[in-house]
């Protein structure tokens, strides 16, 4: 697979405003994507991630800033001249061509001979684990097979960067999970830089080296590896969007040594990590993951203890989610493993729960 050379992508101060629109679809985008990296943009639908992908592929030109691929400024270079290949959301396979003709299309327009195109198609089908379907019609393939053909077609032009626009969204759940591993393997085998966009955090977290989370306003909130993104969200948006979280609106009382004590809107004092170094009197939201909460037992004590009443229990097999009432309209829930022996608390019973200060994350409500 030495014909593939992953290149780096530098997106510098990029902003994009569509003609006739007042607002920027994306703005202030600064990302450096390493050669051979699997990088995902994760965000809700309408956050501008497709716009960003089309800026990289060349279907759009940025209003501000620049895109560099392999150190070269891409302004004025059309999608047919960039070292990128795109995998479209609907795959956009050519229905009138066979599988081999689809894969060979990029070579055909470059004047590669028919024999060489067929050889290349066979090679690529081998690579995507789908050998021997060269002469099939596209419409005779299953969803997962079409996916592989689309990837093979993109790889046929030996791109340095493969751009994937939510290509798994049309597949059913099982196949989608299988294709995640598969995509990751293909990326590792070829070493091509992958830029993947999705609104599905499961996809982003499992496949990517790093993830850029985008918010509705078309800006990047945080760029980090999956575990860091989950454990150490830097903004309220990321803490809300990635994974599930309990959130308490509160005010900072005292702060020192990277920790702070806050008072929630219902008068509860909580201690938590203070990554933004908020100071006394500032508004903050305290985030606690449901799986970080446990029922208080006599033997151990936690930093944060809350008295509450069990509202309802939802049994999910491996997990149990317990919804708790702590007064007011405050939503609050915890999640624990179902080990098969520990009994569930009774509904309407009063319990004390606790969680550590290092599991409590205090983030300011202002942007960043």
């Amino acid at each position: 697979m030495d014909q593939y050379v992953g290149q780096d992508i530098e997106i510098v101060d990029v902003g994009m405003r569509y003609e006739g629109s007042e607002e920027y679809a994306v703005s202030d985008i600064n990302v450096y994507i390493k050669p051979g990296e699997f990088f995902s943009f994760l965000g809700p639908s309408g956050c501008g991630k497709t716009t960003l992908l089309r800026l990289v592929s060349g279907f759009l030109e940025p209003t501000k800033g620049k895109v560099l691929i392999g150190g070269e400024n891409m302004r004025g270079i059309g999608p047919n001249k960039r070292p990128t290949a795109m995998i479209f959301q609907n795959l956009a396979l050519f229905p009138l061509m066979t599988v081999a003709e689809n894969i060979g299309f990029g070579l055909e327009v470059r004047g590669v001979s028919r024999a060489d195109r067929r050889k290349k198609a066979a090679e690529l089908l081998e690579l995507v684990d789908l050998p021997g379907v060269e002469n099939k019609k596209v419409s005779d393939l299953s969803g997962g097979q079409m996916q592989r053909v689309a990837i093979a077609r993109g790889l046929a032009v030996e791109p340095s960067v493969l751009l994937l626009d939510e290509p798994l969204s049309a597949l059913d759940l099982k196949l989608r999970q299988h294709m995640r591993t598969e995509l990751r393997n293909i990326q590792k085998r070829t070493g091509v830089t992958f830029i993947y966009i999705t609104h599905d955090q499961g996809e982003a977290l499992t496949m990517s080296d790093r993830i850029g989370v985008m918010s509705d306003s078309g800006t990047i909130e945080q760029i980090a590896a999956a575990d860091e993104l989950y454990n150490e969200p830097e903004t309220v948006f990321v803490a809300d969007f990635v994974g599930e979280n309990n959130r308490f609106i509160s005010t900072v009382r005292t702060a020192n040594n990277g920790y702070a004590v806050v008072e929630t809107s219902f008068g509860q004092q909580l201690t938590g990590i203070n990554p933004q170094q908020l100071s006394s009197g500032q508004q903050a939201i305290a985030f606690v993951r449901p799986e970080a909460i446990s029922v208080l037992e006599d033997s151990k004590a936690g930093e944060n203890i809350i008295k509450c009443k069990v509202k309802s229990i939802s049994f999910e097999g491996a997990f149990v989610t317990i919804f708790l009432d702590i007064g007011g309209n405050q939503a609050f829930f915890m999640r624990r493993h179902n080990n098969g022996s520990t009994p569930f608390p009774e509904i309407d019973s009063e319990i004390d729960i606790c969680f550590g200060a290092h599991n409590t994350r205090l983030l300011g409500t202002g942007t960043k």
Binding site: S57, G58, F59, G78, P79, N80, K81, T84, A85, M86, F88, Q89, N90, A92, L93, F94, L96, F105, G106, E108, V109, R110, R153, G154, A156, V157
Partner: protein, 267 residues
């Protein structure tokens, strides 16, 4: 409930029978007359079986001239109307612009106007602006005016179902605009282009109203038929109608056989 169902079935059935009797009986009469010896075209009295009217038709050099002219005109109408229909359908389906609806209305208007008006205006225009008097060229122009509209509608119907990301994908894989057009867009539209060409040919071949006013002193087959039917009616025209009917039925039959063998191959 049951009895009303039977009534409904009887009513529907007899309506269908009547409808098709109405549609085909005139054609049957017309064909029968072609074989009657009587020199006045009539079904009865039956004076004897003959093929002489066919001989008379084939011996008429005007008929052959008209047929050849019709084929020439139809050929050029196809050559002109299909590209125009293609261009217009691409413009209207693929681009957004303010005057789109207005342009669309103007372009379909020739279809909604009586053919004689198109014939008159085409005749006057070429005579006045280029001093080209009525003939095959003006007939071609007059017919293409509205036949292009039919081609446009046919091609548009397919173009609207085109998935534009296919073009994006081809472009992204390194194709030039021209390659995208020839390798992706045009193959997708091909079935519509073929039916547009067939429709254009048929429409041109049987056009009477527009041609009558546009063509001046030349004759196409329908103009020849018209003048014959108005002057002295001879069963030779029935022979011609009979040939048309036979050709049509043969065409439908061949098409049906091809379609069946195609679907047979698939299954």
């Amino acid at each position: 409930m049951k009895s009303s169902n039977i009534v409904l079935k009887v009513v529907t059935g007899s309506y269908l029978v009547l409808f098709f009797v109405y549609l085909f009986l005139p054609l049957v009469f017309m064909s029968v007359v072609a074989f009657n010896t009587s020199s006045i075209p009539q079904v009865t009295p039956w004076e004897g079986f003959t093929l002489k009217w066919f001989g008379k038709l084939f011996g008429d050099s005007q008929m052959w001239d008209g047929l050849i002219n019709s084929l020439i005109v139809a050929f050029f109408v196809v050559i002109i109307s299909v590209p125009i229909g293609l261009g217009a359908s691409l413009l209207l389906t693929r681009l957004q612009f303010k005057a789109r609806n207005g342009l669309y209305a103007i372009l379909v208007s020739p279809i909604l106007m009586p053919g004689i008006i198109l014939g008159i205006s085409t005749f006057l225009f070429w005579d006045k602006a280029f001093h080209i008097s009525g003939g095959l060229w003006t007939a071609i122009m007059g017919q293409s005016t509205f036949i292009s509209g039919y081609c446009m509608l046919l091609i548009m119907a397919r173009a609207q179902r085109f998935d534009k990301t296919q073009e994006d994908a081809a472009f992204d894989l390194g194709a030039t605009h021209r390659q995208v057009f020839w390798k992706i867009t045009l193959p997708f539209l091909r079935p519509a282009l073929i039916s547009a060409a067939a429709l254009a040919f048929m429409q041109s071949f049987e056009n009477y109203n527009t041609t009558l006013f546009a063509i001046g002193f030349e004759q196409t087959l329908p103009i020849y038929i018209g003048s014959k039917l108005r002057a002295f009616i001879s069963p030779a025209m029935n022979a011609l109608a009979c040939i048309f009917i036979a050709l049509t039925i043969a065409g439908v039959f061949v098409y049906e056989v091809m379609r069946r063998s195609e679907s047979f191959k698939k299954s």
